[in-house]
């Protein structure tokens, strides 16, 4: 991989970025990553990323949540300390089910939401105290950065990028992994 070079192309508009991404991919260059100051609608499709699977994870987490809620309340309200609330003695989970439904619902939402966020962070390799991977601070303000790895001749790529509306093109040294 000695001949591989890394280029950073900067754009200053999301529409230009979108058309540029399409152009770059049409010319068979691999886009490694794009850094944007805000989510750009349709960028994932333009980059050809696979659709997210977080919905499946959310469904599983919801199922976990409803199970936890059921087991928890069955233990608390029925097994461990049955009480007579409002003339409804708690000796059976099924007979008192309507009273437990709100908690089952809340726990489902709670588990789905929290575990989804945690999954997202882990999948994006983000955790507390982690050093930012952001290559250029301007991408947190008003610039969009496209990172391209290639071993094709650099002149052609630079021309293509400039034509696509890039305001700045830099070649960067690959990070040395120790």
């Amino acid at each position: 991989m000695g001949s591989e070079k890394i280029f950073h192309a900067f754009y200053n508009d999301d529409d230009i970025l979108l058309s540029a991404v399409k152009k770059i991919r049409e010319n068979h260059y691999d886009i490694e990553e794009i850094y944007t100051p805000f989510p750009v609608h349709g960028l994932d499709k333009a980059m050809g990323l696979e659709p997210t699977r977080i919905a499946i994870a959310a469904f599983i987490y919801g199922c976990i949540g409803i199970t936890v809620a059921t087991l928890m309340m069955n233990y608390i309200m029925i097994v461990d300390w049955p009480q007579n609330i409002g003339g409804k003695p708690s000796f059976s989970y099924m007979e008192n089910l309507p009273a437990f439904v709100p908690i089952m619902f809340e726990m489902t939402v709670f588990h789905a939401a929290h575990l989804m966020v945690i999954t997202f962070y882990l999948r994006s390799k983000m955790w507390p105290l982690k050093e930012a991977e952001n290559p250029d601070p301007r991408t947190t303000d008003d610039h969009f950065l496209v990172e391209i790895h290639t071993n094709k001749p650099e002149g052609v790529l630079k021309k293509l990028l400039r034509e696509s509306g890039a305001v700045e093109i830099n070649e960067v040294k690959p990070k040395v992994h120790s």
Binding site: G42, A55, F59, G86, G87, K88, P98, A99, V101, P102
Partner: protein, 455 residues
């Protein structure tokens, strides 16, 4: 542009005629004499345990009907004076059954009429929300929504007419004899009396139809205009209509539905009916759009539009379930006799339709439409849509029937032909309205955004 074919006209007209014949047949069959009812009851008691249970429930129900007596008791009037002992219990029972059998064709007609009116009203509310929020995705569907709301004026007038003709067969408080013995209904008489009922009904229908008339007019005028004046006017009247609608819809649901059980009340009933209404309306919008799209008449509708409609179907199904459960749980938990009779009647006498309805309206659409990809596939939307419509018909059925025919319910000729009548009328009017104008509201300032809409 959609053309109403001759075949389609004949098809919907024959639905209406077939339905009417069926309904009159069931109507003529329902005119039994008290003797016939007694033999019927005697025959039924041969089947053993079943009738005993029905008898028990029927007895409970008579108690429920005589709740006014309970109040009398409090006021010091002697309970026994009230005639339970006057005729024998058998006669009393036979007479109740006779009334219930009489009520059935009326109630069946009313349920079907209300159901189709509800679709149209739900679509109108949804349409007004699109204008008031200036939604960018939906203008391609406006002509479909306008066509569905074309049914509102005739449909709502028919509902009111059936309510007036059905009289005490549907609304027990319209029977002066019942009111004379019922302190609770007497207390509500300033609201629940026939004249006020008719006047209020006409006000609701008048307001909705006025909005519908002007909004359609501006929408058509916008197609030919070169400025946005009509669009802005539509925005203004839509916002005003929504305020009018949320009050009148709530009152309409007290009048036309909740008052069939005049002793019972629920404060979120208006919301509950609204949820039913809007989800049925959106479902029909989706179904008609898919139909026209399959004929190649709405090329500009892409799967993102379907996705949005399906999201609304999913969302409002969940919203409906939320309100259904809120109403149920609060009443179940508080367990106050005057409130809880509503659910006792339904769960004890209608156990299968009661729980089936909940599954059809909540669990089925929830599971089918949960997956994002399925919301774009017409066959899944059609499947979920048909189930939702069946479920919400059952929902209206469960609101009206337990109060009118009590345990003499079923799904027979009366119910089926009532559905045929209003299905025929609905299809005829809606597709007639569709054939009148271009299917694309091309003058809408948001139409470009809507055509290019992608999710």
């Amino acid at each position: 542009m959609y053309n109403l074919s001759h075949r389609f006209k004949i098809f919907s007209l024959s639905l209406i005629i077939l339905g009417s014949l069926g309904w009159f047949y069931s109507y003529s069959k329902s005119h039994l004499t008290i003797e016939e009812v007694k033999t019927l009851l005697a025959e039924e008691s041969h089947y053993g345990s079943h009738s005993e249970q029905v008898h028990l429930i029927d007895h409970q129900n008579e108690m429920h009907h005589n709740q006014g007596v309970y109040v009398d008791e409090k006021n010091g009037v002697d309970y026994e004076a009230h005639g339970h002992e006057a005729h024998g219990h058998e006669d009393e029972h036979a007479e109740h059954v006779l009334h219930q059998i009489h009520n059935r064709p009326y109630a069946a007609l009313y349920v079907a009429a209300f159901f189709f009116m509800m679709i149209s009203l739900g679509a109108l509310a949804f349409y007004a929300i699109q204008y008031a929020s200036q939604a960018g995705w939906s203008p391609v569907l406006f002509r479909v929504m306008e066509a569905i709301t074309y049914y509102l004026l005739p449909g709502a007038l028919i509902v009111l007419l059936i309510a007036i003709i059905g009289d005490k067969h549907i609304f027990i408080w319209m029977d002066p004899e019942v009111v004379a013995h019922d302190k609770i209904i007497q207390g509500k008489e300033s609201w629940l009396n026939k004249n006020a009922f008719i006047v209020r009904g006409l006000i609701y229908i008048g307001g909705w139809s006025l909005y519908r008339y002007f909004s359609r007019k501006f929408s058509l005028a916008q197609d030919k205009a070169d400025d946005n004046k009509n669009f802005k006017r539509n925005f203004q009247i839509s916002a005003g209509f929504l305020v009018f609608f949320i009050y009148t819809e709530s009152m309409m649901s007290w009048d036309w539905i909740m008052s069939v059980d005049p002793h019972w009340f629920s404060t979120l009933f208006g919301w509950y009916v609204l949820a039913s209404m809007v989800v049925s309306g959106i479902t029909v919008i989706a179904l008609i759009t898919i139909y026209l799209n399959s004929k190649g008449l709405m090329k500009y509708v892409n799967d993102s539009h379907l996705h949005d409609l399906a999201k609304f179907m999913f969302g409002f199904s969940v919203f409906w379930a939320y309100l259904w459960f809120s109403q149920f749980m609060l009443i179940w938990y508080a367990n106050i006799p005057e409130e809880v009779t509503y659910f006792v009647t339904r769960i004890e006498m209608y156990p299968i339709p009661f729980f089936t309805m909940f599954c059809l309206n909540f669990i089925f659409p929830f599971l089918v439409l949960m997956n994002s990809d399925y919301k774009r596939i017409p066959i899944f939307i059609i499947m979920a849509g048909v189930i939702i419509l069946v479920g919400h018909y059952m929902d209206v059925y469960m609101m009206i029937m337990p109060a009118t025919v009590i345990d003499r319910y079923g799904f027979g000729i009366a119910e089926f032909s009532s559905i045929l009548i209003f299905l025929g009328l609905f299809l005829l009017l809606v597709f007639y309205a569709l054939s009148k104008e271009e299917l694309l509201a091309k003058g809408n300032p948001m139409i470009k955004e809507s055509e290019n809409f992608h999710y």
